[in-house]
């Protein structure tokens, strides 16, 4: 590699002069040169040597799926997920994969099983009709959504209205061994068999089969592969005769010339991409038919020095890569976009210092310090001319090439001057006549019409060709611009003439210099550039000038305005060797780490680095050229690389997939679910940026709006949110290759977490209502209780007062004493007893009046003295009967209640011999009441202070028990029934 050493003082060249003896030997050598893509092997299971890949498929989201001997793999570029049948004792050898228009995933197995992916796991398809017992070779869907399955031995099956139907030889199919089933642009299903092609359609549910065989011009009856192309025609791969095409409009079989002498054996699979047709063979690797060259077949039998035999599946991805299942292994390739030039021993050309394409589409380059011309237009790839340009004592280092209007090639060397070569004869002329040319180093040559510009270590030279330049010996007029103050005698790395005929100089120290209308001007640090060293200049299709600076990335000059593109804008490496724009609006940026292709319009990048074999390529400055087809060729230390963008709209940024949403990391939820409960607030998101070209470069940016204020950048593919508060959220994820995130790549998922029930409005309202009503009830009850107690107290007091008052009733005392007097006269002993009873009576009143309740037994005991006193008074005119069940004796009553009721009886009734008083005190079995019943014989004049006794009793009982005091009153009988209180 040539390094411009700055300490090689420019002055030294002025002392090197004198004549050079040049000896050129011209040779034309026949040498094989071929172009091969880079193949990268993808390892899914390094542990298992029995691992065999059969088939490769791409789903609608862009995921790559692989059918293997171990089961079905989903591959995202970094990780893979294995899907196997459950239970595991099934043979998981997957032979066919298909996703239908409703995104259902269908998988066919070698043993005839068919399975579907349901809820992210494989479930065996179990129709009533049963499943084939022969291998499923292909699955396809027709325009009506009917699924078709081809089998190796049972013909084909289709699945319509939940029933499976079969088409085999009995129905008119060519053969039961069907290799492939494919849909054409009319919706007809093409079946490739051992006995030609069957075209199957369903007309009103009826099978219709047409046959195509040798008799119709099919070169070979064994049809192993059929694929539709973009025009709606079909490519047909055969067992022995290569490939032919079926032109659907003309119903004609067409055999391209390239296949007239097919020598690569059995065709297994086919694939088309923008550049041509890829053919996978059984024993001869991959064959490529370049659609632009018509008849040329490129044959790749070695992938990175591994001999490839059997190719079983081919797949184009959305990024323009080709996927190849070869020797049961998986390879990824940049396909036609990046090709590596190889010699006939499959070696690359190393240490390329210079590469140039002339107007006849010959590629000139300099392997091993020689000079080679490679005719790109020639379909015979062997047409290579090697020019050996050498000096007797040492080899020559060619660093610049240019073709003048007469077709002569100008050769700039390192320290060996400037040469002009007649490519037809090999004759050369050493151009001399200026100090800078003698033993000079010519870093760059360019020109327009009859003017040639040469860049040297000491400034620029302008060489004007004579009118007739068609001569092996010419004498151009040489002008030395090293004295021009703006350009100076500095190193000049490159000279570029743009579409406006401005001449641009990339200098080391003077910045970017422009010569326009005879005037020089320059752009330097003072104009805002970060460096005054410019080593590459180019113009894009929009007339903007792009140039690279030393370690400061590149600049765009658009109407005197500079824009810098460096690491932040997505360029991977700041020391840029070459720049060139392609015809699809991309700028190619070449540096040691590979190739960055920038879309000028939107600033998106596609990178080619180590993943496609470009690492430490150490490219020389401006070792870049464009051929007549628009391919761009790069010369590097490690080889010659052809870049081509065929203009296909490939994806240029990663496909963003929100692959999994789960609760607490363990429970996956469907993306159709948007509502979560309060406890489901540990949510994790797994996402993927599908970019198979360089999966490691994918960067992510996410935001949980409602939680994160800003976007968060990450390399991880999972984010976990714990303990999210209730609320509404939108999770947004973006992907990018160069950290320039746009909403184009955004995928979002909105969800909400419900508040816990105790935080919901209705719950709070209900609780508040409950508290208020509870408090109300409590206070109400409390107030009632307090009032009740107060009333009880008051009643008790009144009762005591009433009792006392009645007992000290003067009538009672008066009557008692009268009775006592009469008894004293008759019977002294009874008189004593009477007085004792009287005193006992008063003592009882005093003893019991403070109590709230006493037992009925006590009460009866209490009234017995009173009854004794009254019996003594009224003798036989008064009778009292007790009929009280013994079990009621332990019930309770307020003290003296019976006493007061009895007093009332005596108070209200006149008692005489004619009207005796009968009192019955009794209880019933049926209820807990005590009744005091008496005969009525009303007094005319009631004693004073009456009426309050009964009233007191009634209200007192109201406070004590729920049952009321019942008073019955008719002409003859008066009764009061009081409830007996049960107390444990």
């Amino acid at each position: 590699m040539v390094k411009w050493q700055k300490n090689n003082s420019r002055l030294s060249f002025f002392f090197l002069s004198g004549r050079l003896i040049c000896l050129f030997i011209w040779l034309s050598i026949s040498q094989g040169i071929s172009q091969a893509p880079f193949f990268k092997r993808i390892y899914l299971n390094r542990d298992n040597s029995n691992f065999k890949a059969n088939v490769i498929y791409r789903d609608n989201q862009g995921f790559i799926w692989l059918g293997t001997s171990e089961g079905l793999y989903q591959y995202d570029g970094i990780e893979q997920t294995l899907y196997v049948l459950n239970p595991k004792n099934y043979d998981n050898n997957v032979t066919a994969i298909f996703q239908d228009h409703q995104n259902n995933f269908w998988v066919g197995y070698k043993n005839g099983l068919i399975a579907r992916i349901i809820n992210d796991s494989l479930k065996i398809f179990n129709p009533e009709e049963g499943l084939p017992k022969k291998s499923i070779t292909h699955i396809a869907e027709d325009n009506n959504g009917v699924l078709w399955f081809s089998t190796s031995g049972e013909g084909i099956y289709y699945f319509l209205n939940n029933r499976i139907y079969n088409i085999n030889t009995n129905d008119g199919l060519n053969d039961d061994y069907a290799y492939v089933i494919a849909k054409d642009s009319k919706g007809q299903m093409w079946v490739g068999t051992d006995k030609g092609i069957g075209i199957c359609t369903l007309v009103n549910g009826k099978k219709k089969i047409e046959r195509i065989g040798i008799e119709n011009g099919l070169p070979d009856n064994i049809v192993r592969e059929i694929i539709p192309d973009r025009e709606g025609n079909l490519w047909i791969g055969m067992q022995d005769k290569g490939v032919c095409q079926y032109i659907l409009k003309e119903n004609k079989i067409y055999v391209p010339n390239a296949f007239s002498k097919w020598k690569y054996g059995q065709v297994n699979c086919l694939m088309t991409d923008g550049s041509g047709l890829w053919i996978g063979t059984e024993e001869e690797g991959v064959v490529f038919l370049d659609s632009r060259y018509g008849n040329r077949l490129d044959h790749y039998i070695e992938f990175n020095s591994v001999r490839i035999n059997r190719v079983s599946s081919l797949l184009p991805d959305k990024e323009g890569n080709s996927w190849i299942v070869a020797n049961s292994s998986i390879y990824q390739s940049t396909g036609n976009r990046l090709m590596f030039l190889q010699d006939d021993r499959n070696n690359s050309f190393n240490f390329i210092h210079c590469i140039y394409c002339d107007k006849k589409n010959n590629l000139w380059f300099t392997p091993d310090q020689g000079l080679v011309r490679y005719a790109l237009n020639d379909s015979k790839i062997n047409k290579v001319t090697r020019f050996v340009i050498t000096l007797p004592e040492e080899r020559i280092d060619i660093v610049s090439l240019f073709e003048d209007p007469c077709g002569y090639i100008w050769i700039g060397t390192m320290g060996k001057g400037l040469w002009r070569l007649n490519p037809a004869t090999g004759k050369k002329q050493c151009i001399s006549g200026d100090l800078l040319l003698d033993k000079g180093s010519i870093l760059s040559i360019t020109g327009k019409d009859n003017v040639i510009w040469a860049a040297t270590f000491g400034g620029a030279l302008k060489l004007t060709l004579p009118d007739d330049c068609n001569s092996d010996i010419i004498k151009p007029k040489i002008e030395n611009y090293s004295h021009e103050p703006i350009l100076g005698d500095y190193f000049i790395y490159t000279i570029y003439i743009d579409s406006k005929k401005r001449v641009w100089f990339g200098t080391d120290g003077k910045g970017l210099v422009c010569l326009e209308n005879g005037q020089f001007r320059n752009y330097t640090l003072e104009n805002g550039l970060k460096s005054n060293t410019i080593n590459a200049i180019t113009e894009d299709e929009g007339g903007r000038i792009w140039f690279s600076t030393l370690n400061s990335g590149i600049y765009k000059l658009d109407e005197n305005k500079f824009t810098n593109y460096a690491l932040n804008e997505g360029i991977r490496y700041l020391s840029i060797a070459s720049l060139m724009s392609d015809r699809n609006g991309n700028l190619l940026i070449v540096h040691n780490n590979g190739l960055d292709v920038m879309n000028i319009e939107n600033g998106n990048f596609i990178y080619y680095g180590s993943e496609v074999g470009l690492q430490d390529i150490n490219p020389d400055n401006n070792a870049i050229t464009k051929d007549n087809e628009g391919h761009i060729w790069l010369g590097t230390e490690t080889g010659i690389i052809r870049y081509f963008n065929d203009g296909d709209q490939f994806r240029i940024s990663p496909g963003t997939v929100l692959s999994r949403i789960s609760i607490s990391l363990t429970r996956p939820v469907s993306s159709a679910q948007h509502d979560f409960s309060y406890s489901e607030n540990d949510i994790s998101f797994d996402f993927k940026g599908l970019w198979y070209s360089s999966p490691d470069r994918v960067r992510y940016q996410y935001q949980l709006s409602g939680y994160n204020e800003n976007w968060i950048n990450t390399k991880d593919r999972r984010v976990i949110y714990s303990n999210l508060p209730p609320g509404k959220y939108i999770f947004k994820i973006r992907t990018s290759l160069n950290r320039q995130f746009t909403s184009e790549s955004e995928v979002s998922y909105s969800f909400s977490i419900a508040p816990p029930f105790w935080q919901t409005t209705w719950f709070i309202i209900i609780v508040l209502l409950l508290i208020i009503s509870g408090a109300y009830l409590f206070f109400n009850w409390r107030i009632k209780d307090v009032r009740k107690v107060e009333r009880l107290k008051k009643e008790t007091l009144e009762f005591q007062f009433e009792t006392l008052r009645s007992q000290v009733n003067p009538h009672f005392l008066f009557n008692s004493f009268n009775t006592l007097i009469s008894i004293i006269e008759d019977d002294r002993e009874i008189a004593v007893e009477y007085v004792e009873k009287l005193s006992e009576f008063f003592r009882n009143i005093v003893n019991y009046r403070d109590k709230n309740l006493i037992t009925l037994k006590e009460e009866l005991n209490l009234v017995s003295s009173y009854i004794f006193l009254q019996q003594k008074r009224y003798s036989k005119n008064f009778s009292i009967t007790f009929d009280i069940k013994p079990d009621k004796l332990n019930y309770q009553v307020p003290p003296l209640v019976l006493q007061i009721l009895l007093e009332n009886v005596f108070k209200h009734n006149a008692i005489s011999h004619e009207t005796p008083l009968e009192i019955i005190i009794f209880t019933n079995e049926s209820d807990n009441r005590l009744t005091i019943q008496n005969s009525i014989n009303k007094k005319r004049n009631l004693e004073t202070g009456t009426g309050t006794g009964l009233h007191n009793i009634i209200s007192r009982f109201k406070l004590l028990v729920e049952d009321d005091v019942i008073v019955r009153h008719d002409l003859k009988i008066f009764s009061v029934s009081i409830p007996l209180i049960y107390k444990k």
């Binding site: 009533e128 009709e129 049963g130 017992k133 049972e154 029933r163 139907y165 079969n166 085999n168 009995n170």
Partner: protein, 153 residues
């Protein structure tokens, strides 16, 4: 024996016939079976059988149901063995032909053959019309159970 079952919302109808007749051509893997529609018995009511034959199946016009076709799998007819095979053929019921694949369990033993199979028939497929009134009494999908034994000839 052939038995069919209509499991409708309001009524389960189960009828069977012993009158299944047929043959298998072992050299060509071909078969043909037929059953007389009037031979079905075991309906829930005598009137039901009458309706079955007169209204729905129109047995006087289409007296038999047939299934003719070919067995997809290869079978070694001389070996005592059990197979699960698929019979592909034309099922004719009510005069309407439907191509069907029917899964059959087949056991070969000492020159004899026994088989059983279970499959479904949609009334719609065979243009068997059920008045709306009895929709809840007759299922739109009828399951058919077949058990048979055959002797070598």
């Amino acid at each position: 024996m052939i038995e069919f079952k209509s499991d409708a919302v309001l009524e389960i109808i189960n009828a069977r016939s012993e009158a299944l007749r047929g043959f298998i051509d072992a050299t060509h893997n071909e078969f043909a079976f037929a059953v007389n529609m009037t031979s079905f018995d075991g309906f829930n009511a005598a009137l039901q059988k009458e309706h079955f034959n007169e209204k729905y199946m129109e047995s006087s016009v289409y007296p038999t149901a047939t299934f003719k076709g070919k067995i997809i799998e290869e079978i070694d007819w001389l070996k005592n063995q059990s197979y699960q095979v698929r019979a592909k053929g034309i099922l004719t019921i009510h005069g309407v032909e439907q191509e069907r694949i029917i899964k059959v369990n087949l056991t070969l033993k000492n020159g004899g053959l026994s088989f059983n199979s279970k499959f479904s028939v949609f009334l719609k497929d065979h243009n068997i019309k059920i008045p709306k009134v009895v929709h809840e009494k007759v299922a739109s999908e009828i399951t058919v159970d077949i058990n048979g034994e055959m002797a070598k000839k």
